[in-house]
Symmetry: C2
């Protein structure tokens, strides 16, 4: 597989650059702040290691796009790492906002260091991301760097708008599908769109190519999120109850559940009666499947996947990186966990 060869080259370089970016927060009297950030990145503390780091999909996507758009992938490294840091900033704050005690099998930051330090550590990560991006100046003209700065800040604004919707959805009973798409467009969709658009921008690709890559990233991100929603109910772990709890139990309003609610059928009637216990989860999962929630969400994944692949074709990716980009997209959309 072509993708594996790129992973072997890119991943160590990405990791080293991320380490350098996070080290900028270190200094006299600041070792503990650095520890918090390094713990979150999976480099330090209990349970540190590759499992705790996530897959670094976003920076991989950026570097592959730069290469596939005919650019020098190293010149996109600050952009690739900036997005990964933004992603990690949002995880630190999301865990506070969702009251999630764990992240990647370890204690979440607020659970280990308290809400005060976690809020501030997220802010530090946010700033480090933007500082990292400015290192594009070593490779690109100032006007391109400013364009990238603006693009990343706009992405962050959409991220906070999507997160606002996500938090407010918890208390709302009248959600439409349009609300859902708006929410994930700001979050997963927007962040992946920024990955690919910044990759194309770092390759100094033409505007029309940048837009095609942007659409590729956005569609891929949306498909990825709906796939995640499906795995949140019908994933191996959820069905067997081995580790993570089904979204039916936590009550998260994902696409299959929203669709099920709006069918006003048997699933809806059960949903109205209040929280679903782990014992009931399998039965309610069947009700949702009968009412079409699984089929509908899968249809959306398929449509969005087609959109993503069409956009990728429009972008005319070249060389081995282009092949690897296809592989990465396929892998993201056909994962089982």
């Amino acid at each position: 597989m072509m993708l594996n060869q790129f992973l072997q080259i890119f991943l160590p370089v990405i990791e080293a650059e991320l380490v350098a970016a996070v080290n900028r927060a270190d200094g006299d009297r600041l070792a503990d702040l650095h520890n918090i950030l390094a713990y979150h990145m999976g480099w330090e503390g209990e349970g540190a290691g590759p499992e705790a780091r996530g897959k670094r999909i976003r920076p991989m996507l950026t570097l592959l796009v730069t290469a596939a758009a005919g650019g020098e992938w190293r010149s996109a490294l600050p952009a690739a790492c900036a997005i990964e840091l933004i992603h990690n900033f949002s995880l630190i704050h999301d865990d506070i906002e969702d009251n999630s005690p764990q992240r990647r099998g370890r204690l979440s930051i607020w659970n280990r260091w308290g809400i005060a330090q976690a809020t501030n550590a997220g802010d530090a990560m946010f700033t480090l991301a933007h500082l990292e991006l400015l290192h594009l100046i070593d490779f690109l003209p100032t006007s391109k760097v400013l364009q990238a700065v603006n693009l990343l800040q706009q992405t962050c604004l959409h991220l906070t708008q999507g997160q606002y919707l996500d938090i407010s959805f918890e208390d709302r009973q009248d959600l439409t599908e349009a609300d859902y798409w708006e929410m994930i467009s700001g979050k997963t969709g927007g962040l992946m769109a920024a990955c690919t658009e910044l990759g194309a921008l770092a390759a100094s690709a033409q505007e029309i190519i940048c837009q095609a890559y942007q659409l590729f990233g956005r569609s891929l991100g949306l498909a990825f999120q709906v796939q995640d929603d499906l795995l949140g109910i019908w994933g191996d772990n959820q069905l067997t109850g081995k580790s993570a709890e089904s979204d039916l139990i936590t009550g998260k309003k994902t696409l299959p559940i929203l669709f099920g609610i709006n069918q006003r059928g048997k699933f809806y009637n059960r949903w109205l009666r209040g929280p679903i216990s782990p014992d009931e989860a399998l039965e309610v999962t069947h009700l949702l499947e009968i009412d079409g929630g699984r089929f509908y969400a899968q249809e959306q994944v398929d449509q969005l996947t087609n959109q993503a692949l069409e956009a990728l074709e429009l972008a005319q990716p070249i060389g081995d990186a282009g092949v690897a980009l296809h592989e990465l997209a396929e892998q993201l959309l056909h994962r089982q966990a």
Copy 2:
């Protein structure tokens, strides 16, 4: 007074620009997010009005510096407002981190909308600040804008480093004065230094002039903070117990208190015995004064004030704005509440 004439011209323009900056977060389905931000800025909701807005000292400082450095003050407006938004972002998150129920006499954001929405609203304000700064492009060449972007991000990194120290100080018994200066250098000192340096940068002042204004802002900010520490114990409100509680009661480790602790005298002995009740506050205030905490802090304010005024002289401010800048510094350093 010259300053009043500038306040009358600048304040409405600053306020209009801030409104426009915050409106960028608005949109379909996002009215409530906008409401949170507009409430915090003092424009909407219960208790809205000038009292709820703060004095907009920071943007005033930036615009006056630009004019006093021979520039066109309007060209610094995005920088001035960006800093004010950063200041307000930090207040939203500080209130979460300090568990403060009130801000400027009204419910703090987390207290009114919950920690989840407050954390996210702070993030939105943070992003809006950086987006506002990018509007410098209407007035300055791209290289200057990038310099400003870098300066503001570095300021934000120091802000989070200072805030990390501030939070960690709560649990520490071995604080030195050096810890204190490090902390306020990242917070009040760093933010005011950015105000004045960005003002000079927007005027395209020479590097040596920019540095003099930076030192002016930093010294002014440090003096302002120590003055604040003094008012937190010997301010009218604290002595009469009319509104805010004395820092002696809340146990905040400000400069006079740190100095008192390090004297190992009568104040220290009382401090060791645990929390100070409102009934005791006046008596313990006297102990601290006898042990030299008030005199020492006042000495620091005086020294820093001299440093600030010397730096201002080095910067050679011109015209009416230069006179107003002096007045603003004097006003900040001789306030009684």
